[in-house]
């Protein structure tokens, strides 16, 4: 009996979380003349909005642009962060602490604070309005978190692991790829999942640095689509669900990695 109130609290909290999403899902399945987000679930679900939204909103192109960005950003940032994290974990060098803190600075620096100079800088090297205008800043911007993350993960491993390898004469590359990598696979994978979510969801950089409407990403494309078809609510909701759905599926598949990853970040 005493456990009833926590259960009710958690139930209400869960409801609060899913209601906006269910409301949008529900409206996306109504006939095009529906006017409001409603609780009433109509008997006849209408899937035509999805087909229309997909075609009108040019979603295959938006998806392709976002996929191209993540396919470059995620592997490159993961590899570079693992290497640099290893560098900070493994070696002593002058000013190490200062250099590390200099990197950490970037974790608190919002993209809002650097996007205008980026607009001019990337314009001057001619990559504005291409996917590279989003890729380059993300390559730099993702480094602080990843390096911090990997270094603190390596620090939790027992020191003997590498001592034995050093005595055996294994060089740094072998120590990293043959010894540390296999035992850290799951942490590194969590990091790449975060990188995926962040680059997939990135909006500000994509909006300002890619203003060409044929090169929009999923997030900026959705915003433009919604602004244009705000009169047709079911269509607009179908577009929104098309964008939300992959993230939900992704979360369901990788929830264990995502959750354990978040918790690992909190340890330090």
């Amino acid at each position: 009996m005493k456990n009833i109130s926590p259960k009710i609290f958690l139930f209400i909290l869960s409801l609060y979380t899913v209601i906006p999403l269910i409301a949008v899902l529900n409206l996306s399945l109504q006939k095009p003349d529906a006017l409001s987000v409603s609780f009433k679930i109509s008997k006849h679900l209408y899937f035509g909005n999805y087909l229309n939204a997909w075609n009108i909103g040019n979603f295959h192109q938006l998806f392709w642009t976002s996929i191209s960005i993540t396919l470059i950003v995620v592997p490159v940032t993961t590899i570079l962060a693992v290497c640099a994290g290893y560098g900070f974990y493994r070696f002593q060098f002058p000013h190490k602490k200062k250099i590390f803190n200099f990197l950490l600075l970037g974790m608190a620096l919002p993209y809002e604070a650097i996007v205008i100079p980026l607009y001019y800088g990337l314009g001057s090297i001619g990559v504005l309005n291409t996917i590279w205008a989003v890729i380059f800043p993300l390559l730099g911007g993702f480094m602080p978190f990843g390096i911090y993350w990997i270094r603190s993960y390596f620090s939790t491993l027992p020191a003997e692991i590498l001592e034995a390898a050093t005595i055996d004469g294994a060089n740094n590359r072998i120590q990293l790829t043959k010894i540390l990598f296999p035992i850290s696979k799951s942490a590194i994978f969590s990091l790449s999942i975060f990188y995926f979510i962040w680059s997939w969801n990135q909006f500000l950089l994509a909006m300002i640095l890619i203003q060409d409407s044929t090169k929009r990403t999923v997030t900026t494309g959705l915003t433009a689509f919604v602004n244009q078809y705000s009169m047709d609510l079911p269509l607009m909701c179908a577009g929104t669900i098309i964008v939300i759905l992959p993230s939900v599926v992704f979360f369901i598949i990788f929830q264990r990695h995502i959750i354990s990853g978040v918790l690992q970040g909190a340890v330090k």
Binding site: F9, T17, I19, I99, P137
Partner: protein
């Protein structure tokens, strides 16, 4: 043990760290330094930049729009950070009071975390519908006979910023609750037993054991959620675009407007630098206040 700082070691460290370091310096630090530099100039983005000393920074405080955006972002910290931390503590305690096998504990932990992974623009669009004149809130109100309270919530001068705040709570609770419920599992159970022997109740348990033990998790949660509160561009852009009458402007959006609508790049840069300074100051003080003893 680890290599000491010999020449060999410096060489290897450079090989491993340099690529990341260079990308970070070129694409994050250099633009930031450029923003600091241009924040002292009058510049329309095309013509010649004219030295303006620190006057742009005075303008940040004098211009009602910019000042409003800063005030709003500080108010949003309460909604994105403090309230989720508070509810996160309650829900984590609730989860820990239930048995590990409890289905609702397991499921709700995952469900309330979901908003963290969704694109914020899609989240904003969904909530915009909830708050719309035909939306769920108004339907609920008329259902319980409070139809006279119905309005377009995001168009309301006083309420709009709180509407954004409600979405902030929605976003943050899952993260906080997850962090704290795992933190609670790590607390030594004997600490609770000694409180029970003293005759203390649930509330004593919470204030004298749970809360102090969770200090690192709370610090981490506040840091992360504050960063997201201060960079709330995505949500505001799709939900209100700063309106009505500038009541929901946040610095990120105002930087964008100054630069691309008003062509005041120097001014935009000084607001951007102000924003990053506030972020640093806030994070440093949170970490000082909640440091481990």
């Amino acid at each position: 043990m680890r290599n000491k700082g010999g020449r060999e070691s410096i060489k290897s460290a450079t090989t491993f760290i340099a690529p990341a370091f260079i990308l970070y310096t070129i694409f994050v630090i250099a633009p930031w330094l450029a923003a600091i530099f241009f924040s002292f100039f009058n510049w329309d983005g095309i013509g010649e930049a004219v030295w303006n000393s620190y006057r742009n920074y005075i303008q940040v405080i004098k211009d009602p729009e910019q000042l409003q955006s800063i005030k709003n972002s500080i108010l949003l910290i309460v909604f994105f950070s403090f309230i989720p931390v508070f509810f996160g503590l309650i829900s984590a305690t609730s989860i820990s009071n239930l048995s590990a096998k409890s289905k609702i504990a397991k499921i709700s932990r995952v469900v309330i975390f979901l908003p963290q992974v969704l694109p914020l623009v899609a989240v904003g669009i969904s909530w915009k519908l909830i708050f719309s004149p035909n939306g769920i809130i108004n339907q609920l109100l008329s259902l319980v006979g409070l139809g006279r309270l119905e309005k377009g919530w995001l168009g309301d001068f006083n309420f709009a910023i709180y509407a954004i705040g409600i979405v902030g709570i929605w976003l943050g609770i899952g993260l906080c609750s997850l962090l704290f419920s795992t933190g609670i599992q790590k607390i030594d159970k004997h600490l609770y037993e000694s409180i029970q022997i003293d005759g203390g109740g649930r509330i004593r348990e919470f204030t004298s054991v749970t809360l102090p033990s969770l200090r690192p998790e709370i610090r981490f949660a506040i840091t992360i959620t504050t960063i997201s509160a201060l960079s709330g561009f995505d949500l505001v852009y799709v939900m209100t675009n700063g309106g009505p009458g500038g009541k929901t402007l946040v610095p990120g959006l105002e930087v964008f407007r100054l630069a691309f609508t008003y062509q005041q790049f120097g001014q935009a840069c000084s607001l951007a630098v102000t924003l990053s300074t506030i972020t640093f100051a806030f994070i440093l003080s949170v970490n000082k206040l909640l440091k481990d003893y």
